[in-house]
Every structure is written in C-alpha cells, then in structure tokens.
Amino acid sequence: MILPPIDPNPEVQVADKPPIRDDTRFAAGKIAIFQYGAVAIFLFLISGFWNLQVQNPQIYDERAQQNSIKSVPILAPRGRILDREGRVIVDNHASFSLILARESLKEEHLMPIAQGLDLDYYDLLDRVRRFKSQPKYVPIVVKEELTPADLAFVDSHRDFFPEMVLIQAQRRLYPQNGMLAHVIGYTGEISEDELDSPEFANFNPGDVIGKFGIEREYNDRLMGVDGQRQVVVDNRGQVRQVLGIKPAVPGKDIQLAIDLDLQAVAELAMDGKNGAVVALDPRNGDVLAMVSRPAFDPNKFAVRIKAKDWREIADNPDHPMLNRAIQAQLAPGSTFKPFTALSALETGSIDDKFSVHCAGGISLFGHYFHCWEPKGHGTVALHAGIVHSCDVYFYTIGVKEGIDNIAFYADLAGMGHPTGIDLPHEAIGVVPSEKWKLRNYRQKWYAGETPSVAIGQGALTVTPIQLARAIGGLAMGGVWYHPHLLKNPDKPLKPDVWSLNPDNVRDVVDGMYGVVNEGGGTGGRARLPFVDVCGKTGSAQVASAALGKGSATHNLKLNAWFEAFAPCHAPEIVVVVLWEHGEEGYLAGPIAKDVLTAYFDKKKRLAQQAAIEKQALTTKMAALGNLALPTSDRQSPVSTPQPLAASPQTPTLE
C-alpha cells in the first residue's frame, strides 16, 4: 500500500538554521521519567478501583440497590362501620400521607423536612430512629392528612429530599360531638408496648390499629391488609419499572346492632349530663343504643392526637374516656329491688301476700335503717313495696331470705361477671355474698350488711349494661341473652336460662308496671300513652363506688338510675339510664321515656309505611289484571328495613 506523495517542499525545515544535534537522545532520561510517571498514574487509578471494587464492594453494591428500589405501601382502607339498617356511622375519607422511603433516607434531611411540614424535629428524629431495626422496605409515615401547604412543600422539594413519598390514605371520619364515641372507639398508630404484646405480634411499627371500642374489638376484620408496590426509581425519583404489586385488601365493613335513630335520641337526652344509657333488645341481646357521657371526639385521635388534646381528655375529672355503659361500677340502688323481690319469691322466703309495716325505718341487728320516705309507707305488700320503692319492705325480705339467696339470683341475672359484650375492658361489678366476703376480706359475712344489699347499696355494684341485661332477662321470664354490638355475631353466646316461676315474674313485672303507671309510683315520668312501660327508679349513694373518688364536689349527690322495658309482658326493648349525681331516680325517667318513645314511634311509622306499600302493591296488582294473586299476609311490617326518609344519613347532635 502506498500513500500519496507528501508535500515535496519541506524547505522550511526547523533544522536549517544553526546545526544542532537534532536527535532525541538528549531527552531519553526525561522520557523515562515520564514513563515512570505514567506507570505511577495507572497504578494510582487501579488502586482506586481496587479500593472500590475488591476491598469493599458489598457496601457499594448495597448502596446501588438502595438507590434504585423503593417500596411504597398501598394502604388498605379500613372497613366502614354501619348501623343496623346499613346507615354509615364511620366512614373513611381520602387524604394524603407523607412517608419517608427509608432506602433513600438521610438523617440530615429531617430538619428541613420537619420545618417544612411543621413537625417537631425531635419527634421525627425519634420516629426515624425507632424504625432502625426494621427492614428497609418498611416506610415511616411522617404526617397524615396533609394540608395543601404541606403538599406544595413536598412537591417542590422532592428533588432535594427524594425520600419523601406521597401516598393515598384513607382517614377515619367519626361522628361529631362524641356520638357513639365510646362504642366505636378510635384508631391510632400502634405503640411500642402494643408491639411487644402477643396480641399484636404480626404488626409493624407505623401500623394504624383500633385502640378502643369496636375499632379495637373488631380490628382484625376492619383492618385490611396493606399492599405494597416495589418500584425501581431513577435518580430523579421517577418510577422506571414496577417490580411487583401486592394489592391492598380492604377491610370488611361491619354492621352494628345500634339503631342510629335511637342512639341520636339517647345522646340528645343525655346532653349536658354525666352518665350512660343502654338500650337492649332482650329477645336477642342486640344493643340498640349505648351512650356514655361525657364523651370525647374520636376525630382528634384519628391521626395522631396532639399532646394538648390528650392532656385535656386525660386530666378531665369527669373521665371522658370511661365508657360508663360498661365500665362504671356503681351501686344500683332501688333498681336492684326487683331482683331482691324475685329471689325472695323464688326461694319461697315470702309470697306476694307477705306484708311489712313501714314507719319510716326499721331496727335490724341493732342498727336503725331509714326508709327513703321518713313519713313511712304504712303497711305494704310486694306490689306496693315495688311501686313505692319502700326500703323497709326490702330490708325485711332481704334479711328474711339471706345474702346468699340474693347473691344467687343476682349472679344468675349476670351481675358480678362480664356480660360478654363485644367491647374491650368491660367491668364486672361486685355481687357480695358470704363466700365473696371470705375470699376478699377473710371475714365472715355480717348479717347487718344484708339490708343494704337488699336495696341495692352496700358492696353491690353493677354496670349499666349488666343491669339492662339482668332486667331484660327477668322480663323475659328467665332468659338472659348476652348483649352484643355486632348485628350478626359470629359465635353468638347461648343465653343463660333459668326456669323462673311465671307467677313470680308476673308479680315483679306488675310491680314495675305500677311504678310507671299507678298513682304514687316513682317512675310516672316514663309513662307512654300507647305502650305499657314497666320501670324502676333508683337513687343510689356513691360512697361505695370505685368511681367518683376524684370529684369531691359531686360525692354527696346521689346517682339517678332508671331501668325500663316495654311492652311489659312481651318486652322488645330494655332501657337503663344512669345519670351520675342526678339526685333522684325519677329524674332519669324522662330520658328512658325519650328512647322508648323513639323506639315505638319508629315501629309505628314503619308499620304504617309497610301498610301503605302493601296497599299500593295490592292496587297495582289488581290493576295489572285479574290475576287474583293472594296477597301475602305474612309480610311483617318490621321486615322492611329501608331507612326512612326522615332519618338523616349520619345524624349529629345539635
């Protein structure tokens, strides 16, 4: 191969001036040094690779992995909570949560992030450190319910803080004004203590779980299973590839036995008072309404409760977090008298003719026991004893039958042990007996203690739910269903059954009818025009109660109780009202009356509606032709559970 001829005119050779040794030998040493320099440079470079690639490559490999794979959780929405007619009590609403993807988390970014999102820096740092032991794909939820300002901050700073990831979250939306607060409870982030307990063994930090009430009781059902998206992201945080998606499994809805219409009425009736209302269906144990006042606002817990709000609730002397319906253990007072009467009758200690003279008090075991009526009731038998709530009568029959008979029937009715309601932390109350005293105080029962128990005082304490269940079972003639909030319990508890003598039951129920409907009865304020209501008032001393130790000002006032059921001989609903420090039992009557009215009004309304519909259907059928279809007479009016037009979707108080 021959190249084209080169420029033939190299007349300007550099070497045509003075003669020099124009060779390269003079530079040989320098060139050699250059070569050594090149060797040194290459060794220098290779040593750099040696350090990075051979000495500790796994560090960099790990960093490369973290660089690229991000795990983004897909939060499963919690199930909704519905009332017995399918109306929504607790719903979710969409919101944004900010999480920190820990694969790319830098601790020095926390300060600006905390500032930008108005979070406490040390809180945030704490949270991040707490997650240290967790696998990297477990993200840290930093803030829920982002405001537009937060969103703007995240959006504009994503390039600087690539660990910030927005996710869609479903936030709990609870009824306002504390309606049903104690029943529903609230959710919150799982605490460290809970994480250590076996109940929450399968949970991760940052999980939102039910903390209280139904939310806690049915957490497993309400809580879905969070999904996860593993994505490969590039340096701009943009998703380049989706490695895998595990879809979220949403939580299941649950339907409560609660009737929002009744609940709203009960809440309204208790507005401004402290206490509880429980409404049960004695035929199956459905809890139709449950109120505890004062209440708290579960919405404040829905994200993460602020320290100030928590202090306000925790320091409140009225204990708003206490679900009085199941946790207030108080002396039932005169509302216990029907049980004293029943046990005396059942054990044959007395019959319905047995009478006592009341002169405003009685001396027993060397102690003078007062009747609430200082003037005395004169001669009273069973019926009048219940109607007028004569203490002397019940002191007498109580002593006559003895503490253990009272205790046996009280225990039978479910007092002194949990009702099994599907709420956490139910209190059990106390039914004193000889055995109880021996076991707890290592002392023999002193007969002089019996009269107090017979009128529902002394060591005897019950919770409103226990009382409701007890009186409902009595009204049913000896069938005590276990109250439950879930409309269709998975494993319904079998009712406690005891074959009571129907005559004895009728005697007691008639007495309770008299309380409401006869002149001089203490419960006249609960009377309803179109339904027979049976009831019993109670005005109980608080001295023995565990509750109320802190509130000295109220200590001396009596607790007002009212128990009622209707219709008297075929009960459909039991209502128990506790008005703490309400002074007189009869003052609690109107509250029970409101609930009963709401129940029976609604029943009547539904029946009318059903009748109209049925009529319309018949007319329509007739118009369609002479098909002469037999109209079903069996169609029960109550079996049309369409929500009424008048009932609000989510009733709120005020």
Binding site: I2, V14, D22, F34, L45, F160, R236
Partner: protein, 362 residues
C-alpha cells in the same frame, strides 16, 4: 519525493486504539438503551470511521509542514475560540460548539489541543537548546495562555487544563531544571488560592464536593457518589453487559460520555477495568516509544505532547470516576461518545503515526 508505506504505521497502537473504540461503542450501547441518546452508539461508529479518515489526511501532510504553519493554525484557533465566545451565544446558542451542516457540532477547544501540541513542539525545537530557560518557558506559556484563557471563559476548566498538561510535559522534556520545576510548583501552590476566586460557582462547588462528596449528595457531590457506587457495585467481575443498575437506571450522569467508565466498571468489574486500563497503558507507552524513535526533536515533542495529552485525559477522567479527581468534564479518549473528542483523538493519533512514518527521513 518519497513513498511512504502504510506498513510502517504503528499497527499495534492502531489495534489497541480500535479495541478501545470497540469497547467504547459497546458501552455506549449498553448505557444508552431506552434513553434519549439511544442512537449514540452508531453515531459513534460513524465518528470513528470519520476519525480514521481524518487520521489518513493528517498522515499525508508532513508534520514538518504542519509545524511550519503553526503560526497560522494558532491564529485560526484563537480566532475560532474568540468567534465562538463572542458570537457563539447569539449565533449558535452555545459558546462551546460550532454547528456543522448535517446536525454535527464541533467543539473547537478539542481541536485547539492539537495546535497547542504543535505550537509547543515547534517552539521548543526552535530554541535549539538542551536546557530550557525560564524566560523562554514564560514566553511559551504566554502563547498557550491566550487560547487557554478563551477556553476557561467558556467555561471549560477541564479542556483548558489539558493545554497546561501539554505545556508542562513539553517543558519538562525540553530540559527545565529541577530548581525551576520546584519554583513553579511553589508559585502554583501560592497562586491557586487566588485563582480560586476566579472560578465559577459551579466549579468551586465541584471542587468542594470532590473534597467531601457526602456534603451535598443530591447536588454536585451526586455525580461523584453515584459514580463511586457504580464502580463499587461492579465488584471483581462486574454485573454483565447492560445489567448495571446504576448505569441502566440513570443514576449515573452522562453515562455514555464523561462517566462512561463508571458504567463500564459496574458492568465489567475490576477485571474488565484492569484489562482496559492496560490497553490504555500500552497505548501511551507505544506513543512514548514513537517519541523515542522520532527522527528529530520536533517529532519527539509532537509525540510526547500527544502522550501527555492522553495521559492527562486518563488521569482526570478515570480519576474522577473513582472519586480521586474532581468532576471536570473531560472525556475518556476513544471511549466517550462525541464526534469532536473522537476526531481530535484520531488526529492526535495521526500526528504520532505521521512522526513514525518519517522516522527514517534523515
């Protein structure tokens, strides 16, 4: 009038360069799949053939002729740099590139390197001395400083520094006395802090992040960190072609140009790195050998200039990849994608072969 045989070309050198080019094309292909630069690999092939053609042209012209016209070339270079600097922004939209018909863009400063090599060679040869005087060195430095200042003004610190490297090696070979070398080193060390003030902000932050890359990992330290992660992730044997997550996921900035060797390190590991660096080493040694066998001083200076240029590129680019040099943005010779760089490198290669072909002239 002589006939020059292609047989006299430095074939081992050519083979090594073509191997490096091949590795480069593969790596460009691997690093740019599914990106906006996905066509870079075949463009690179075109550039390489274009480069070979340019090399052939420069072979034809005797390097003495080139040296003779160095004043003209120098004048043209300064004019071109000045032109792009002054007019560039308004006319071409960039101060670094001159657009050519057909969508190509030329980076003038890349070609000025060659002129600097020729300038240094001619100047040092004409001194006809075995010992370089400081006065002469300062004159030469003044000549180099003009285009260098223009390149710095673009601003392109990396390329400007390559001019210094050529000058420094030339001066060293020309017989600068050790005491002067020491003096220059001291003066440079003293002047550097002053020069700091003349650096652009981004240049400062690059230097800062070179000292402490974790200081602002998402900012200027980002490139250094990502590059080191990529290199480290490669381990001993690498992750395989097109399997490097750092490269494929675009964590690496400009994975086919300045940081091409990061991606290569990730995908081929230490073994691949040593293999390719060995090729580069042999390449530079071959060029130095051509300097030793050159027919005259000017030829020797030309070859040493090319060797200095390429070695400097290696040091800065590969050093940057392993985090031992600041990010200056100069390409890896024969591997980085880009027409200007490839062509200027092939032209430099042509100069070396030019000298080699004429080694028996005298």
């Amino acid at each position: 009038m002589r006939n020059l045989s292609l047989r006299d070309l430095d074939w081992p050198l050519m083979l090594i360069v073509m191997l490096i080019c091949g590795v480069g094309v593969l790596q460009i292909f691997s690093a740019t799949r599914e990106t906006t630069w996905a066509d870079a690999w075949w463009k690179q092939i075109i550039y390489i053939f274009g480069g070979l053609f340019l090399m052939w042209i420069i072979l034809v012209i005797d390097y003495h002729t080139l040296l003779h016209h160095v004043a003209l070339l120098y004048g043209l270079s300064v004019a071109a740099l000045l032109g792009t600097l002054v007019l560039g922004r308004q006319v071409f939209g960039s101060v670094r590139w001159v657009p050519l018909p057909g969508g190509f863009r030329l980076q003038v400063s890349e070609f000025v390197k060659l002129v600097i090599i020729l300038l240094v060679a001619r100047y040092l040869t004409e001194l006809r001395t075995d010992e370089l005087e400081v006065r002469d060195l300062l004159k030469l430095a003044g000549l180099v400083l003009v285009p260098m200042a223009l390149v710095l003004k673009q601003p392109d610190l990396g390329t400007a520094l390559t001019y210094i490297a050529v000058l420094a090696v030339g001066a060293f070979v020309a017989g600068l006395r050790w005491k002067y070398i020491a003096a220059i080193t001291v003066v440079t060390a003293l002047v550097l802090p002053v020069g700091w003030h003349f650096l652009k902000d981004y240049q400062k932050s690059r230097l800062i992040s070179f000292m402490d890359p974790d200081r602002d990992p998402q900012g200027t330290g980002y490139q250094l960190i990502q590059s080191q992660i990529a290199v480290g992730a490669g381990g001993m044997f690498g992750k395989g072609i097109a399997k490097g997550t750092q490269t494929q996921l675009r964590f690496l900035p400009v994975p086919h140009t300045d940081f091409i060797f990061s991606g290569f390190s990730e995908e081929h590991g230490f073994v691949g790195v040593v293999a390719v660096l060995s090729l580069y080493f042999v390449m530079i040694m071959r060029i130095v050998q051509n300097a030793q066998t050159a027919a005259d001083r000017s030829g020797m200076y030309v070859c040493m200039g090319v060797a200095a240029l390429l070695l400097f590129h290696m040091l800065v680019n590969v050093g940057m990849v392993v985090g031992k040099m600041p990010v200056t943005g100069i390409p890896l010779p024969f591997m980085s994608a880009g027409g200007s760089s490839v062509w200027s490198n092939f032209l430099a290669l042509g100069l070396v072969n030019n000298v080699r072909l004429r080694r028996f002239v005298n």
